[in-house]
Symmetry: C2
Subunit: 159 residues, 2 copies
C-alpha cells in the first residue's frame, strides 16, 4: 500500500472526518460545533496555535490537539473574551515556554471579568424577577400598582 502521497489508506474514515492521522475541517466542525467559516476565520485571526498543515490537495489536516485547543477557545469566546484577546493568548502559547506568568495574568483577568459579568447579570436578574412578580400579581389579581401606564407622569407608581 502507498504510504507516501496522502489520500490513500483512507476509506470510510473520510466519512468520519478523518484524513490519514488527522481530521478534515468537516470533522472539526462536527467535533467543535463551530462552522467551517468560523474555523477558517479563527485561523486567519491567529487564534490557533499554528497554521494548520495541509495535505497534498491543499486541505487542512487538524489533529486532536487542535480540537482540544479549539474547545478552550470556544469557552473563552462564549464567556465573552474578544477574538483579539484570544489571539494574544494564542500568541503567548505559540511562542513557547517562558511566558506562563503572562498567560496566567491574562486568564486571571478574564476570570475576573467573567465573575463580574455573572454578578451583574445576577443583579439584573433580580430586577427582572421583581417585574415578573409584579406582573404575575397583576394578572392574578387585577391590581395595577407598579405597572407602567401608557403615558408617564400621572401618579408615577413604583418603577
Amino acid at each position: 500500500m502507498d504510504t507516501s502521497a496522502d489520500g490513500a489508506v483512507v476509506d470510510d474514515a473520510v466519512a468520519e472526518g478523518a484524513v490519514a492521522g488527522g481530521l478534515s475541517i468537516g470533522g472539526v466542525v462536527r467535533a467543535t460545533g463551530m462552522s467551517v467559516d468560523t474555523l477558517r476565520f479563527f485561523e486567519r485571526e491567529g487564534l490557533l496555535l499554528r497554521p494548520v498543515p495541509r495535505n497534498a490537495a491543499g486541505r487542512r489536516v487538524y489533529e486532536q490537539a487542535d480540537v482540544d485547543w479549539l474547545s478552550l477557545v470556544a469557552r473563552l469566546r462564549a464567556s465573552g473574551m474578544p477574538v483579539a484577546t484570544v489571539a494574544r493568548f494564542a500568541a503567548l502559547v505559540r511562542s513557547g515556554p517562558g511566558n506562563e506568568a503572562l498567560r496566567l495574568e491574562l486568564l486571571r483577568e478574564h476570570e475576573r471579568a467573567v465573575r463580574e459579568r455573572i454578578a451583574a447579570l445576577g443583579a439584573d436578574l433580580e430586577i427582572i424577577q421583581g417585574k415578573v412578580a409584579v406582573y404575575e400579581r397583576h394578572v392574578r389579581e387585577g391590581t395595577a400598582a407598579g405597572l407602567w401606564a401608557p403615558t408617564p407622569s400621572v401618579p408615577a407608581d413604583a418603577p
Copy 2:
C-alpha cells in the same frame, strides 16, 4: 413672571438638567449614564413609552417617569435583551392595559434567558478556573503538565 413660553423661571435649575417641570436630555444623561446619542437612538427605535415632548425651542423635555422607564430599559439591555425586543415590550406597555399577560410572557422568557446565560457563564468559569489553577501550579512549581505546547501532537497532555 412669564408663565406661557417655556424658558422663563428656569434659572440655575438649568445647570442641573431641569427644564421647567422636566429634565433636559443632558439631565437624563446624568441620571441614566446613557449617552445623548443612545438616548436619541432609543427614542427613534421606539424604546420609550412615548415620543418625548419638546419645549418651544424644540428640545426634549423628559420627566422622571421616563428616567424610571429608561432605568428598566438599561437593565434589560445590560442583561442581553436585544433592542428590538425591548421595543416590542415598550410597544406593549405603550398600547395600554389589556396585554399584561403578553408583557409577563416576554419578561419571563427573558428571565429564563438570563438564568441560562448565567449558568453557561458559570460552566465556562469553571473551565477557566481550572486553567488558572494549572498555570498557577506551573508558575509555582515548574511543572509543565497540562500546558499547551507550541506545536500540538507530541504527547498531548490533559487539555
